[in-house]
Structures are given as structure tokens and as C-alpha cells.
Subunit: 215 residues, 2 copies
Amino acid sequence: MRKLYSYFRSSAAYRVRIALAFKGLDYQTVPVHLLRDGGEQHAPAYRDKNPAGLVPALEEAGQALTQSLAIIEYLEETYPLPALLPSDALDRARVRALAQTIACDIHPLNNLRVLAYLRDELALDQSQRDAWYRHWTEQGLAVVERLLADDARTGLCCHGDTPTMADCCLAPQMFNAQRFHCRLDHLPTVRRIYAHCTTLPAFQAAAPENQPDAE
Amino acid sequence: MRKLYSYFRSSAAYRVRIALAFKGLDYQTVPVHLLRDGGEQHAPAYRDKNPAGLVPALEEAGQALTQSLAIIEYLEETYPLPALLPSDALDRARVRALAQTIACDIHPLNNLRVLAYLRDELALDQSQRDAWYRHWTEQGLAVVERLLADDARTGLCCHGDTPTMADCCLAPQMFNAQRFHCRLDHLPTVRRIYAHCTTLPAFQAAAPENQPDAE
């Protein structure tokens, strides 16, 4: 049985959970608690699977796959239907760019290890750390809003009316944005698409509160 | 003619330049000076092409493509040979994970806009900003080192003996690491592969010092 090393609130793990659920792929969740015992992701046994000490990792065909977007591309190539990428190359480029605007330009700046560095190495207080978090989230999602609002290919979802890799990234990022009380009023299209995604079974199955390790 | 909006020292633009050169694709460089006039990437005319205000953007088939890895995937799909991804799905997942370990876990933390925030919003001094830069680079490249050193699929390049998307990311990151005087002694495999890449014509053509906007 395929194993997903996951933490219920990890945004990157959440992306992969959506993809697995959307494609109807069974898996066993192996919880990796990011806060317990100094972070279970740093334990040597887990680092053997994922040297980065980050979740998720997907054990598949005897190998531990890492990096959420690389895992989703693998799932797309190996289990093509239902598809998470459109068929046209320019459309695929658009969907990947939307996904990477979140996965490269927003999420890495607000990851747990970065917030820990701000607190421990730079001695920033909670309000400075919150301002940092909101700055990158609000600015990055404004870019996503413009990419979505200005393009006729946007539908009920980020690209057309069915979920793609972009929605796999958008929903977890919006979950985080709400959790950290980010401003969202400048994001009508993003909010509309997120609201739609939350009605879909795959997104519900993947949601943090429905994970076995949810607190 | 295809246009690449580029800045000679931009690590993300450098990745795309390698891919274009490796595939033998002609393009016109449109320089976007990241430091002049408060940053030409913020000019409204450029933001119309790339709302993120980041380089690169590739104008192709009448569309402005953004996000370096999405652009490289597009080039790979549209101009498959010579290939920048292996043919096996698990191998492709490995190459993409290596690329994303750099593009998601290292580079976004050390981008110009982030360093500017550290300086302007958090009033960190030069030594604190340098420590930040080195921390994420040295730690991130140590992860890359382990992924490379522990895997028999590593060859002259990150995956086998010819360049892949992973090498397109590794070479610019190493260029940056040297420029910012990062520790590299813990990275024998990374250094060996980088040294090899710098001998290849595509990497030489794409190097910052060989760009029309080099200073």
C-alpha cells in the first residue's frame, strides 16, 4: 500500500492529498508531527526518506518521492485520469505557473522552518512574524488574483471548470491565509474558486480537519 | 522571434537561458534591470506581462509565460529533443524533486524582494542579511548533496551524464552561492557536477557574464 508521510496542517501535504483523492488513489497516512519532540520530520529515520526534513513524502514503487509538485506530476503521468493538467502545452504552462506562483513565491516564505528562524535567530516578535506572513501571502495571492481575473480560461476552477494542479495549491494556501487572518477582500476570484473547491469531495477528503492526525 | 525578459544575474532567468540554449532555441533577450529606477520589473508595462513583477517571462506564441520551471516544462513538451527530463516516471520525479529543492526551498528565500524586506522592513544589517542568505543556501544545498550522493542514478550531471532540469537549477544556484561566499566544502558531489556543467556550451552561453546586459 502506498504511504503518504503527512501532517494534517501542512500545506504541501494537503496539495498531494487533494491529488490522490481526486484521482481515487488509495494510500495510508503516516503522520509526521511537525511540532512534537522538536519535529518528527527531523528524525533520522524520516530524513532517510526525505533528506530535506519536510513533508510530504510519498512511498511509491519502493521509492520515497519528495516535493509536492514533483509528486503530483508523477501521479499525473502514472494515473492520467481524471487529469490535473489540461492537454494543450500553453494551457499546461499557465496551470503550472499558477501552481508555482503559490509553491515558489508564497509558501516557502511562510514555512514553519522560516517562521522559526525569524523567531529564534532574528528574535522577531509575534506581530513582526505575523506581518511577514501576511505580507507574502497577501501580495502573492494578489498576483494569483490578477492571473485568474484577467484570463478567459479561468472557470469555476483556476483553469476551466474542473480542478487542476493550480487548485491543488490554491485551496491549501487559502486555508492557511484564513488561519493567519490575512486580508482577502482584494481577492474576489480567488475566494470564489476556493469556495467552489471546498464543495468538491476530493478537497473535502484532503482537508486538514478530516485527517487521522487532526487535532 | 521568441523574447526572453531576463536579467543577467537572475537565477530563475539563468535556468531558462540554459534550457533554451541546450535545446538550440533562438530568442531575443529583453533586459529587465532589477535595480535601476526602483526595479524595471515593477513597471506597469512589464507587470502586464508578468503580474508577479519577477523575471523571467518568455513571450512565445503570443503569450507571456512565467515561472521558470513552468517555462522549462513547456519547452520540454514543445521541443522534446534534446531532453531535459528522463523518460521513466520515477526518474522524472527524482529530477523534478531536485529542481524543486532548489527552486522552492532555497531560491525564494534569497530573492531580491526578500532581501529588500529584511533590510527595509526589518532593519537587518548586512551581516544578518548575509547570514540569512548563507543559512538557506548552505542548508538547502546540503540536502541536494545528499540526494545526489546517495543515489546511483547520479552521473556526470545530477541524473545521468547529460543535463536535466535539475542541472538547469543547480548551476545558477551555485553561481549565487559563490557570489555570496557561501560554504561549499560540504558539497563534493554538487561541486563536481557544477564544474562539469560549466564546461558545456549551453551553460556557457547562458552564464551571466555572457549576457547582453552583463555589467
